[in-house]
Symmetry: C2
Subunit: 606 residues, 2 copies
Amino acid sequence: MNVQTKPAIVTTGPISGSRKVFSSPEGRPDIAVPFREVDLHPTANEPPFRLYDTSGPFTDPHFSLDLDAGLPQVRGAWLAGRGFESVAPRAVKPEDNGFAPADRLVPPCPAERAVLAGPDGTMVTQYEFARAGVITEEMIYVAHRENLGRAKAAEGAAERRADGEDFGAAIPEFITPEFVRSEIAAGRAIIPANINHPELEPVIIGRNFLVKINANIGNSAVTSGAADEVEKLVWAIRWGGDTVMDLSTGRNIHNIRSWIMRNAPVPIGTVPLYQALEKVGGDPDKLSWEVFRDTLIEQAEQGVDYFTIHAGVRLAYVPLTAKRVTGIVSRGGSIMARWCLAHHQESFLYTHFDEICDIMRKYDVSFSLGDGLRPGSIADANDAAQFAELDTLGELTKRAWAKGCQVMIEGPGHVPMHKIKENMERQLKVCHEAPFYTLGPLTTDIAPGYDHITSAIGAAMIGWFGTAMLCYVTPKEHLGLPNRDDVKVGVMTYRLAAHAADLAKGHPSAKLRDDAVSRARFEFRWQDQFNLGLDPDTAKQYHDETLPKDAHKVAHFCSMCGPKFCSMKISHDIREDSERMAGLEQKSAEFREAGSKIYVDEAAAD
Amino acid sequence: MNVQTKPAIVTTGPISGSRKVFSSPEGRPDIAVPFREVDLHPTANEPPFRLYDTSGPFTDPHFSLDLDAGLPQVRGAWLAGRGFESVAPRAVKPEDNGFAPADRLVPPCPAERAVLAGPDGTMVTQYEFARAGVITEEMIYVAHRENLGRAKAAEGAAERRADGEDFGAAIPEFITPEFVRSEIAAGRAIIPANINHPELEPVIIGRNFLVKINANIGNSAVTSGAADEVEKLVWAIRWGGDTVMDLSTGRNIHNIRSWIMRNAPVPIGTVPLYQALEKVGGDPDKLSWEVFRDTLIEQAEQGVDYFTIHAGVRLAYVPLTAKRVTGIVSRGGSIMARWCLAHHQESFLYTHFDEICDIMRKYDVSFSLGDGLRPGSIADANDAAQFAELDTLGELTKRAWAKGCQVMIEGPGHVPMHKIKENMERQLKVCHEAPFYTLGPLTTDIAPGYDHITSAIGAAMIGWFGTAMLCYVTPKEHLGLPNRDDVKVGVMTYRLAAHAADLAKGHPSAKLRDDAVSRARFEFRWQDQFNLGLDPDTAKQYHDETLPKDAHKVAHFCSMCGPKFCSMKISHDIREDSERMAGLEQKSAEFREAGSKIYVDEAAAD
């Protein structure tokens, strides 16, 4: 890894063992989709293996980091052709930055961008375009991205597709822009893409696409500067975060968000309620529609791609949580519950939902309808409070669609394995197949310190069942703030869970990578095995702890069994003894004809 | 943790936050079953929480470590009453220790034990006793252990049982010795318990009991002494290994095994084929029934509790592996495949299977019928070779039962999520419900360095479906030899996977621990949360990285949200505002009566 010096803190340079490539869909040289390619050992006699790439320009050796200028505007020309208005930005207020005093105020990112807004009566959101039958550049981009840049279905895609179990999803062998459009129009997928986020490399979130993962970042108690906050984003996407939620609170969050947005190649999500609460001094009772509304506009103008809106926490549902083992564990949910009780009124998020939609549509901010009443323990899973809220989220989904907005639905939480499927089935039904976006779920409460794993079990399963995006959990869940290593472990854990889900669903390109890794393993191409894996650095480091020499990277054995015992080597001997094998098969045929049962053939044994 | 000084290398002393207790079944003061108890904060107003304990005497503060003398003989009096013969031990041969020269020979453990053998015509194995209707002390012991020492079903056991999905298993609310006997008699469970292993604290492995985990240990290239090898065992069981497989090879393995056996409170498994291969200089072609037979007797006399026997790798199945992506990945499988091809003969393990049974019965060594043809990649999962071998394992199961032996069946390996269930269903069917013991399975091949997690996903699922024991995988799988930290991570990962399975199956005692952790979490009893979790040390360390002060161990907030935002604190406020809540419920009732829909009640929302 090459850590550049301007500013020193942001990680740039290629991921070990792969190089950045760009590929354009046929006839669209203006659309360049990034991938990573792994060159394999010459003995493999295989072309470079292409990987989906979330890491943005930071891993491009030709990229010159300049946080002040922000990233190249991938979507600039596309957006320019859509007739949006350039509006006078909302004036920044002292409370936007938590009343930070002048001497502690982080300056905003100086990158200049016009603030766009969709005029009434014109199409703004991907949903509106899709419903009108219009294929946007974003749709073409994600189709090419999902196909890993191939011009047609990969060889064997139909067989791999048929090999999976997708529980009624309809993953095609090859993704066309028209398929993307139709999925968005049906509400089954979203491309979170604020029109004020021209730096975005679009990504699609839906049940019939690759399972995506989200990583959360948040500011530290003591902020050493905007570059540190950008680095958190860069670090999370380097290892595979498809989207990033910025859950920062406190001082300077408006200005720091400007640095994050201008340097974010992935969709950024936020929970506007957190900032609204800061603005009223942290007292939920003092929240109001007006301060919330102002915060939505503030963040939408900055380019945030999706907002978590906890509009399903209705006054009537709060008593349903009173007997829970862990009450309300969602921050947003507890804030709104508190507000409802204090005012003895219906949630302003619910009563003003149509106005929220109008604002979000204007910038194409996607809804992530929050599950404020998600279970925080195994005991509370799938309870009345959780499912009452889910029903309301289903109602709100339809209302948001009617307003032209893109919608996904947040899900739990803590759920034992046998109750996971019900979550997916109910969500599909009551939320009309809008994409599901779950936190884990954790499959047991007993392993603090290992909740990335307790939740990866649930995440892989619910991803298989149909969840479109998995929100990561780090080893520090329930205990503290994740550090850099924790973030990487969390992202890696969720990447493998998402991949396990893709594989089980029969996603036509998923198994190609497993097979490539396994061929490398069987052929003792150690470096290929590392490079094709999720984390080349860690794999190589683990290997080198036992067999550090470079010579061992081509050794036909490993440290587990040593040279004498290697089962794979014996397997090779068996395979190479091909004449004898052919002889065996010949004999097998003879014996079968003779009615003997000494040999069985593949068909008979299957 | 208190690391004692004699010898310094073996870890002793209590696990943080818990203390060793012993409990005897009613009327059997001679049977003392160990548990760990966690004392909770006074504000919890709860009795100490009792945990299953695999750690053996090493965590007992009253225990005086003496590796030369070996552990107390828990089973000594029980075995003495069964009329076994004390026989002249087989003479140790130079090849038993890999022809170690005198100056490098590790001396055997001096602990004196008579070598026992079951005379013909008398009952020796737990299976034989069970079939004859006899309840052994081992059966009483494991029943009490599975019940966590309770004298009757725990409160709510029926409800928790009913809450799970057990796929046709029949887990009772309370385990009686008679239930244990009936499960063993039906072949659905085993108690691996060699009559030459009096130090054993018996453990039961079966689908209707708590899911168990196995940890593998192996000798280092350079052995610094027997204590180092014993410490590997002690370390693995300290964190939760229910059984340990000793996969050591090379010099001194006979003598080192004597140290391990005499100091092992858990069942020890081996793969005798590995040692037999050593004895013939590492060349599979030179293996013979005679050297294998001699090795079985050697290890059985030492007290090994279960043997992996790869008798299902038949000559006819070897060609089925030729077109696999990763061939044969089991060491034992590849050795036997090589032997079969070299000699063009049926496997001697298969042709001599009845004699193997006779030897193993004599000492009550349980069969772990090896899956030598398990898939080593996603591509090879559930293929003809794998299932052909499984069919043979089913045939051998019946033959071993007919000889009076206890049997479990080994399973894969690498299997994508959608093909896991078929493995369990086929195994139950063709192996007549003999306990299944799987390695993972890994649900994807793409994450070297994280295969404890790729496999924990599969392990939790297959455990839920009915697998009785899960063989752990460490982060070093495919890459190198696990170190001490890797072993702990592997054990913890598999403990949480096994627990997630117990919970989903509806094991009546599983959810008690989740609820206890969650209550502690909700009530901000931080230390209780750590101590009730799987790994108190790591949880506390993670917490302290952000909030190190002791005062924060009682803080009503944590580092994730800070004091202003804490959702759990708000939940408490909501709950404590009970009068208002009661008022709300009252109003809710009034509204319902009035036909209003402002409030919903729990029943209506469910």
